[in-house]
Amino acid sequence: MSEHIVPRKTYYIVWALLMALMIITAALSRVPLGEWNTVIALAIATVKALLVLLFFMHLKYENYRITWVAVIGGFFWLFLLLGLTMTDYLTRGPSGLAGH
């Protein structure tokens, strides 16, 4: 069996980190920090997602490179969809969205 057995301790540590990050993000959301609220919240969410992807989903222990390519590609494609579409919405000028 070429599959790596991740020790349970790793899972518990990751879970503890996830819970801690969740508490932090919930607490910080109550503190008005203007623009930074969004940035911090998304940054924490990204770290949480990475923890789940790398450890719970075993991405860190994957033997095959193509799995990494698929995951990175998937997220990259999402950003492509969001980013390229926003080149339209962000440059529309004062009239912005229809209905305004």
Partner: protein, 544 residues
């Protein structure tokens, strides 16, 4: 005609005669049988889409909208588009030739997920069945593009049912896509490295990546239309703060790459056919393989060129226009390389070769006119005219469909164990080529002169060109019916085929025609490059 071959064919068990029961077909997990099931279904849908096209062309014989009301005409072009795009072109080559050949070409016994393969066919059938129900009970009139607010608010036709049909068919596409990707990564025979893969595989790999990344986005776009229609909410409705252009972004994010789903497999066929009938390896193997991947990638970056006049920001339009020029480059590379493959090759003008050569010419014309419309300034004038219709039909029909026919004819002996009558093959190819050009070339002129699309009436001065187009369509129709007849005829009366009648190099030709269920008696071990004609068992002179 060798009697030894005949006897052997009669005695030998293959994937077709191993079990004749209906259950063995409907519950098969054999990729070859599933390919045949798909072939039958998409052929049926092709003729239904063709029937809608016939009615369209009949209406357009006269300037007045006299054959049908404008509402009915709207339904005709909508049904034509939906059926042809979602139920014919998208599945066509991948689900038929791809399903049949991908495992064989890489030396595998089946696809990675045979049951999911069967499930994908059932999903296709369910979607197609629902679409037929929609057609039978009044159709849909939003165009295959489903733009809101018409689709979400004002249309009185079976929009939601049509959307569900397409959604289900989309799952079929996704399943096929990830099945191919995993198969190509994990199930290649020993020695079948990435740079020994036939270009057919590279093309299908790129296609599968598009299917996987793009289809879900159109699925969510159409789902939102259905929700909007059902619950009268406003994500695309300006009256409620929504933006109809947002739908267009989501729709075209898939539907532009979708056209590459439709063309890459045809290009994949052409690579195989041109090489075989020039008896020469494909010129610039790596360039063609890489070009397939580049088409898939760049194809995702250009979608808003369908929206230049929809109200997007002119700055975004500029970006997308520039990117749209880039996407032509890898396609052009392929055309150059196929041509270079034929140069100083030992050419046989067989039926598949005629179709592939036709593909190269017609696809080039379609592609070049794509460059015209990638230009913002030109597109402002020709958008929503017959110029666009001619442009994409040159690629979809002159390109994709001819590539499909090329492939069907090329691999017919392998799939069925029979040869079709070559004379009739050539007659049909010629008829289709002639009929196609007569149908669609006048449409370039019509569009340039200003005839809008999706209108059932037009100014008098456009009639001559429209009559030419309809005349061409009738010839094209004859051309399409011919293969239906002689291919079916060949199943019973055609000459029994050898294992490798064209002396082609792929692994699929190193098994019997038709192949046994498990494809290979022993797993092949590959030690030669693709298109290495000297690797064939018999000594055959090759062109360099």
């Amino acid at each position: 005609m060798s009697s030894t071959v005949t006897t052997a064919a009669v005695e030998r068990t293959n994937y077709l005669n191993v079990d004749y029961s209906l259950k063995s077909w409907l519950l098969t997990t054999d990729h070859k049988r599933i390919a045949i099931l798909y072939m039958l279904s998409i052929t049926a849908m092709f003729f239904i889409g063709g029937a809608a096209a016939t009615l369209i062309r009949l209406e357009l014989l006269t300037p007045a909208g006299d054959l049908m009301s404008s509402d009915t005409y709207n339904k005709m072009f909508s049904i034509h588009g939906i059926v042809m795009v979602f139920f014919f072109l998208i599945p066509s080559i991948p689900a038929t030739l791809g399903n049949f050949l991908v495992p064989m070409m890489i030396g595998a016994k089946d696809l990675a997920f045979p049951k999911i393969n069967l499930a994908s066919w059932y999903m296709y059938i369910t979607g197609a069945g629902l679409m037929l129900y929609v057609i039978a009970t009044g159709g849909v009139d939003t165009g295959w593009t489903f733009y809101p607010p018409f689709s979400s608010t004002y249309s009185n036709t079976h929009v939601i049912a049509a959307i569900i049909a397409i959604f289900i068919a989309g799952f079929s596409s996704i399943f096929t896509g990830f099945n191919f990707i995993v198969t190509i990564h994990r199930m290649r025979a020993p020695g079948m490295t990435w740079n020994r893969l036939p270009l057919f595989i590279w093309g299908h790999y790129a296609t599968s990546v598009i299917m996987v990344l793009g289809t879900p986005v159109v699925a969510i776009a159409l789902s939102l239309i259905a929700l909007e229609r059902a619950f009268h909410l406003g994500i695309f409705d300006p009256r409620m703060g929504g933006d109809p252009v947002l739908f267009q972004h989501l729709f075209w994010f898939y539907s532009h790459p979708a056209v590459y789903i439709m063309i890459l497999p045809s290009m994949a066929v052409v690579s195989e056919v041109v090489s075989t009938f020039s008896r020469k390896r494909v010129f610039g193997y790596y360039a063609v393989a890489l070009a397939s991947v580049m088409i898939a990638v760049i194809g995702f970056l250009v979608w808003a060129h369908h929206m230049f006049v929809a109200g997007i920001s002119p700055y975004a339009a500029l970006v997308f226009s520039l990117l749209s020029y880039f996407v032509a480059v890898p396609s052009a590379i392929k055309v150059f390389n196929w041509t270079a493959t034929m140069f100083k090759g030992s050419i046989t003008l067989s039926t598949p070769m005629l179709y592939s050569m036709g593909f190269i010419g017609l696809f080039t014309m379609g592609g070049m006119t794509g460059l015209f419309v990638a230009s913002l300034g030109v597109d402002v004038h020709v958008h929503d005219t017959y110029f666009i219709i001619a442009h994409f039909h040159y690629i979809m029909v002159g390109g994709a469909v001819m590539g499909y026919l090329s492939g069907i004819h090329f691999w017919w002996p392998k799939m069925t164990g029979r040869m079709y009558p070559e004379v009739w093959g050539k007659i049909a190819a010629g008829t289709i080529f002639l009929g196609f050009n007569l149908t669609f070339f006048p449409q370039f002129v019509l569009g340039y002169l200003g005839m809008p699309r999706r209108y059932h009436a037009y100014p008098e001065e456009f009639q001559v060109l429209n009559v030419m187009s309809t005349a061409g369509a009738s010839i094209l129709a004859v051309g399409y019916v011919l293969p239906l007849i002689y291919l079916m005829w060949s199943l019973r009366y055609g000459k029994v085929a050898e294992d490798n009648p064209y002396r082609a190099t792929g692994l699929e030709w190193r098994t019997p025609s038709p192949p046994p269920t498990e494809n290979f008696a022993e797993t092949p071990i590959v030690t030669w490059d693709a298109y290495d004609y000297s690797s064939l068992p018999e000594e055959v002179p090759v062109a360099r």
